[in-house]
Amino acid sequence: MRNDLNALLEGLHNRDARSIARAISLVENDHEAAEVILTSLDQQNVRSSQVLGITGSPGVGKSTLTSSLVRHLRSQGKRVGIVAVDPSSSITGGALLGDRVRMMGHALDSDVVVRSMATRGRLGGLCAAAGAAVRIMAASGCSPVIIETVGVGQSEMDIIRLADLTLMVLAPGLGDEIQAMKAGILEVADLLVVNKTDCVGAETLSMDLEAALRGRKNACQSRVFKTVATTGQGIDELAIAIDELDAICRSSGEHDRRRHSSLELEIVDWAVELLKPRLLAELQETAYPAEPRQTARKLLARLCPLMIDT
């Protein structure tokens, strides 16, 4: 095991595809090697990399757009990471992860690192796992690292907070634009993209969104980007806007603020993950009162003596 771990760390250092993949699995499964792996990462790379979130309803073209964007980024010589998160079935725990179907054009490119990740019904823990995958990729020289996630559900929205910048993708004909505005989803988006502009309804959707965005503070954030992900139309312009906004955020201090709050999110998520098995074990061993809130408080008081407000 020791030797395996050393070989793995060596492999990570050399950007070896298997080592990167293996490291992500070990951390995702909370293997005991997780801490050594994560602390050995090149923190300089982790800090400097750009983390992009791409979110939106099912089928709007997130994966196709990602693939298109990757083509553009590769032409600039950038090494890119992609963490594609899809929901697990809450009943069986299984998941069908199909985002790769749209990205196979890059399959033989060793500088496009793709990882599919299932939510595994984690209430928390998802940010911890996805955040670790992002770090591992960033440490191996990937910048940007793109997180693709379906914009439904709280845990998915939480993952987006790991990103430095978030693209919200919409498409005509899905009827979710009103929904998006109501749910305040526009607020979490830094850049709005209307994809499938080759389809009917795209123009109306774009105009509605532009109206909703009026009054936003900077130019790229009050624009609606129009793309056809399948052909690459509009991608160059989008990529330029991403870099512009990234530069603005870095110089204004917004970037650091976001990194700081995503770090907090990850720490809390890990703490809860690490605590969970201990709580369950403790519950098995001792008889506690049946009232759940009171029990929770007593449990915590036992496990964390510093929590004195019992």
Binding site: R18, D30, S89, T92, G94, L97, R100, A107, S116
Partner: protein, 141 residues
């Protein structure tokens, strides 16, 4: 400490030129419904693309589907691509319209299990579970 309950991960790929992915999708869904995390790569993939994806996704097994009759060439090509990549812990399983007389040849070429349209679903699922358990044993001594 290692969470042994973590789901098994497998990849379902469809090498070759025929565009019929009903079989591949059926198996992918059946595996998902059995609790697997299934990475699906879509149709018309080269053996090299399938292997590169399997490595990045750190799966325990690759399931291949072929209805074109090219299985004698395509399935062993995936085994070969794995070998070239220095991978010896990912099992390759294959299914499709495969004549009885080809099965032995495929197994000799390193395909762990071969399924035909008559193979009961439970047998297929168990073969994937087995491959994943073996993979887990190698990685958690």
């Amino acid at each position: 400490m290692h969470n042994n309950d973590s789901p098994f991960r497998v990849l379902i790929g469809k090498p070759g030129l025929d565009g019929h992915d009903r079989g591949a999708k059926f198996i992918a869904r059946a595996l998902r419904d059995d609790g697997f995390e299934v990475i699906y790569t879509g149709i018309r993939r080269t053996p090299e693309e399938i292997v590169a994806a399997a490595i990045q996704e750190d799966v325990a097994a690759i399931g291949l589907s072929s209805l074109s009759g090219a299985h004698l060439r395509l399935f062993p090509a995936v085994v070969e691509a794995l070998r070239k990549a220095g991978v010896n812990d990912i099992a390759v399983l294959g299914g499709g319209v495969i004549p009885e007389e080809d099965i032995r040849q495929l197994k000799e070429a390193g395909i762990a299990e071969v399924f035909t349209p008559g193979t009961p679903l439970e047998v297929i699922l168990e073969a994937f579970r087995n491959a994943c358990r073996q993979h887990r044993e190698i990685h958690q001594p």
